[in-house]
Symmetry: D2
Subunit: 408 residues, 4 copies
């Protein structure tokens, strides 16, 4: 009877039905730490340009788990021995890979807590859950950390062709409506194999890999780093920065207790390890804490804060100028002067209204483990060396763009 | 230059591209009242069952506007004269038809402000916007109110086959992943015509109409009135009811100023008409105010409130028993007793833990204007009288279900 | 190595990938009898209205096999014991269920060979293949004939909710572009169960069943029995009838040897059983024999034949008048007179230019085994008795339409 | 009334509805020359690998016309003046661009008539239709030939980003089920503009262009030049070649009169120009003539012919070896010897069983007019020079593959 209750199927417009395979998965999904992901948008502020892109880390994590189950089945059908326990572990590892994301995903990754990546926080939370579940997550954690003897299981969780990327490209493309971003996850998974303990892809899938890399590139420039999205995310970060500054000055700010805590304290990684309360507070935070506060701050007496909040809530976003070269200091000076003529701001305050920075993307990163191609004769080759292919080396070079962002 | 700025295209996974036709539309969409719809989920708590169903009233309104433009084009191609101004007006009317929705759409329609439908509030806000825009919305308002001489324009905005329904069925089906709910909006629109100033549908579209009615029925029972959704929405309403009760008692509650205002005051329609501030506060409310507060109330000292809030945030939803007959009073008494054995509650408090009510749906409402079928010989017939068709009369009878909802 | 060769995956725009499960399936699919289905359009002449509807019995058979594999997996996951052999047998049974179809599927079912349904021919061919494959199809044949002890396996192959219907509705809707015909096969299959050796469907799938029945009805009237399709198919039948008549008179006709054989001989079921050559000839026939001949017959000296052939090749189709009542004899006489004034035809010949007949469809046939609904309390109920449902009884009444079909 | 009859809508699973804009389009589509395209598969023998790929030149031509209407509308909305007549002409030009295709499209392009491209035949047929339609196609022909003063109209019909390619990639991807081949035609068209009388694409569409080029490359290698497809098409060509050879020897062959004519006569371009009957015969040919004959030739007494025909009908296709280098003559000799040991063939006959050749593809051809990118500052740049883009030059180099094809 308990079993029946825990047999659950999710409707997913992307894959149809997603089935929860067992009780442990079910309990993890029901856990408040995981349920929190329902309230964290996968794509931060991208929905300001793509109104459908409201899907969450919760949905993405389920989707990646679904693909993982397909991948395990494919590898088994090719004779790789993946035990029942390993299958469960690798599935749990991907299910939890994003559990450490904070509000607005990557957008505020460095604003709420500085210098701590979401992966590190995922690790902390997984350990926490592992204690609650009698070490049943031991093997999942090994895989997540890349310490599992079957290294290809770790590749499935994190590599340049992992189930994370396959799901997010497909899902982000689906919900944003940017149909060119679609990849054929099913085909890519069907082509997976293992050589020397590493994940490889059969040669006949090579054009699908090419397509996958180019689709990812397109999604970066067209969606993730879209000018308007960049602007909204810069503004969001600076709102948080300003609020923290004010909190530091003792200024009162409307905020939920959890947000209040992070406005008032600068928490580092050691703090998380040493004081469990930090994690408790962190896992109470989500998009709702942030945006509810921002809406109230529209009326805050600090002009900088209320100005930024009004702009973001009513979508009067800053203008972005992108450039391949470093921004000309004269241009910066000119814009700065313009801002000063419109706003009464001191030297410190101008930094909240004028953002200069860089954004970059390499579709395929040569410093990360390669995507390896398995030929019919058994040889394996790094895709960037594969002849007559798309010049992957070109895609390898990170494209750096400099931006200037300021009020219209 | 202004024109260029105001030429905007939205990516929509449902229809592809949605183009904003002119400056007035653009300005309305940019208005904070309309931007607010970005923060109101179309389907309330349905995403607790269908994790993709996070789309908003903002997106739906744009979609309905898109379909309206198709419909106007079809009718013109059939020789109906719709002036440029009328085309603009009917498009604005549908764009704004949901502007009066409050947080969580229908879910809290009677909880934030009692006895005022969202249509009435839409009307108030449209009038407000009309003042701001020099009466440019006059004709749109006439259409919205059903007072326009070309009555079929009003039918396009509100009838049993209006652009609102066409969009929401298609959109809700898309984002929930309940593919059977899909309708062929394009075909239905292509079959539209006008007879005697009323919208009709060509006879060869009759099977599409049937399908549309049955799809709507399916969406009601499978999505909108899904047991789990029903439970979540009942709980949400009762959380608000409890919070209002406590606020009335002078108990302090964390809330944004706008939410605070509605917790502390019982606003009726006359209040809205007489004091503009009420509308100002109302248009500050959205899903974020509600859920941010609920998260904080999880720690509230009122046991009822904190219990309900914990349940909804962590998705420990109440159990629902549905029945075609009225719930047996003995069953209610039995459950009540069980609750009392678990919770220390007085007679008044039990009402927050045990909900008895009815929910109903008629796929096709005979009291509303009919869907009329135009035959090749020029005759027009109400679809429920059309021979050899699905027994529409059966669909006409509202299906009433009684429910009992209580802690597991 | 052989195994590798026989591991095959088909790309299917409907389901993604279809995997051939084993060598026997592979060999059957490679067999010329099965390959022939590549040349038989699933929907006869429907592509004259829906230009995408060119998909074949081959593709449909693979699709139905795919769904069968899903169904078997679902039933096993619910504790039903289906042995490996039974799983194989039921999959082969559905794979071969349409192997007896002749050119243009149902259109010419009674024109090439009279009085023999395609199911009977499927049976004969399956027996034939069984001999070639050392009785490995014994169990598949038992299931196909409804003689297998696990009767629900036969239900999966042939019943009102069998894998045949699920695939063809989904596939025909997909390729014709009539999106309202789409059903949620995945959901329906997920809801399957077995009670008392019969297939049932869980109560929470009831709206999907409703939708399935209504979608089927829509596909019938909008696609399968579309006026223009009806006209094309009547003409095709009469072309064959005329050709047979002429062949009988000793008139020479261009035709492939196989077609020639059936023009010259009237083969009945006993002939098929007694003389193997009849089946050999039959399995050489496909759409190509028919249409290549028709194209040549456009220049035939018989005026009736060449007229009909010109009409169908150049898509100058006859007009169709549909009516719920029997066609008024006066109307028939009037049309007949008109035809005579345009064409010089004798009393026998007029029957090739004027077709009077009926076409009918009942979305749900009460004389066939029921679709049974399994409630949570374990009770089972015929869907047409299930309360508060669509009045299935209405759908049960076959809709009969009378038609008159004649040159424009 | 006539107008009503000629107002026609096609269901298209790719775009939804395709509307025939006027009577002339309607009459052209009804013409037997155009109807013939219903019987010519867009992708020759690709359906042997992708069973859904049965769509025709008819469907593709309608689809390209649909996209053309969108493109004209976009350009007009950007202030380009395209008169009603020009809009009609460019639409007719794309509608007819493939009218000269023979059976199995490209596969037999050089087998039925040598040295005449389908474009030349399209031109001849368009002239022919123009005579029948009182020169109403004059302007369409000018556009088709690239002689129209508004050269960008010709670009829309034929260039590296024309409506032909946009439709066929989208359509071929759809029907084959190779989802990675999908492109965003709507977005590409929305980005179109005109500079200096040439079609350009706005810079913000650059990633969609990249994606389009890579998708095209993928479709080439994965679908159009798939090994098995290559094999089937080589075999088909050689069957025709053998049949022609035998016909030349006076051997009798079953064939429709039209096919017979081309087996017996070698028709060159001058013949087409000088003797109208050649075009009449040509326009009687389609896939049905070819495959019906092949099926009969399975029993032909010429062993080569019957062997090849049996192989192709029953899908026992030849093996293909692909190589980046020229095939080693020793390998060829070895295979040749093997064939001789299995088949009794003389030196001439071996060429029907062993094919050595090359196949090539450049995703983007630098010798054709460029795809030009329009930047915000008004400058225009060839996409292959656009910085930080995919190294288009790599895609420019044609990939040549050498093949060896012979019986398994």
């Amino acid at each position: 009877m308990t079993v029946q209750n825990k047999k659950k199927i999710f409707n997913d417009p992307v894959y149809g039905f997603i089935t929860i395979p067992d009780d442990l998965h079910f309990d993890i999904i029901e856990h408040q730490y995981f349920q929190r992901l329902r309230r964290i948008k996968q794509l931060g502020m991208s929905h300001y340009v793509f109104p459908g892109a409201l899907h969450t880390r919760f949905h993405h994590s389920l989707g990646a788990m679904y693909l993982m189950q397909q991948a395990v089945q494919v590898l088994r059908s090719k004779g790789k021995i993946i035990t029942k326990e390993e299958g469960k572990a690798v599935s749990l590892a991907i299910l939890l890979h994003d559990i450490g994301h904070g509000p607005y995903s990557h957008t505020l990754e460095q604003s709420i807590v500085k210098g701590i990546s979401h992966e590190k926080l995922s690790m902390l939370i997984m350990k926490n859950l592992n204690q609650e579940h009698n070490s049943q997550l031991d093997e999942a954690i090994e895989i997540f950390c890349g310490r599992h003897p079957k290294n290809y299981l770790s590749n499935l969780v994190s590599s340049q062709l992992d189930m994370d990327r396959l799901d997010y490209l497909k899902r982000d493309s689906f919900f944003s409506g940017v149909s060119e971003g679609t990849i054929n996850a099913e085909r890519l998974i069907t082509m997976l194999d293992v050589v020397d303990n590493e994940l490889v892809i059969e040669a006949k899938g090579i054009y699908s890999v090419e397509n996958f890399i180019v689709a990812r590139r397109l999604m970066y420039w067209q969606v993730y780093l879209h000018k308007t999205v960049l602007s909204a995310e810069c503004m969001l970060m600076n709102i948080l920065r300003r609020a923290k500054y004010l909190a530091n000055q003792g200024v009162e700010l409307f905020a939920t207790p959890a947000l209040c805590y992070f406005l008032q304290h600068e928490i580092n990684y050691t703090d998380f390890e040493e004081n469990e309360m930090n994690l408790v507070y962190f896992t109470q935070l989500d998009d709702y804490d942030i945006f509810a506060a921002i809406k109230v701050w529209m009326e805050h007496k600090d002009n900088i804060l209320s100005y930024l909040c009004n702009c973001i809530v009513n979508r009067n976003l800053f203008k972005v100028e992108l450039s391949k070269e470093e921004i000309d200091p004269e241009r910066i000076a000119f814009i700065e002067k313009q801002i000063r003529s419109k706003f009464e701001v001191n030297d410190e305050e101008i930094s909240y209204l004028l953002y200069v920075g860089t954004t970059s993307n390499s579709a395929y990163d040569p410093n990360q483990p390669n995507i390896n191609i398995l030929y019919k004769d058994g040889t394996v080759q790094n895709i960037s060396d594969a002849a007559d292919q798309l010049n992957i080396s070109v895609l390898t070079t990170p494209v750096i763009k400099h931006y200037l962002c300021f009020p219209k």
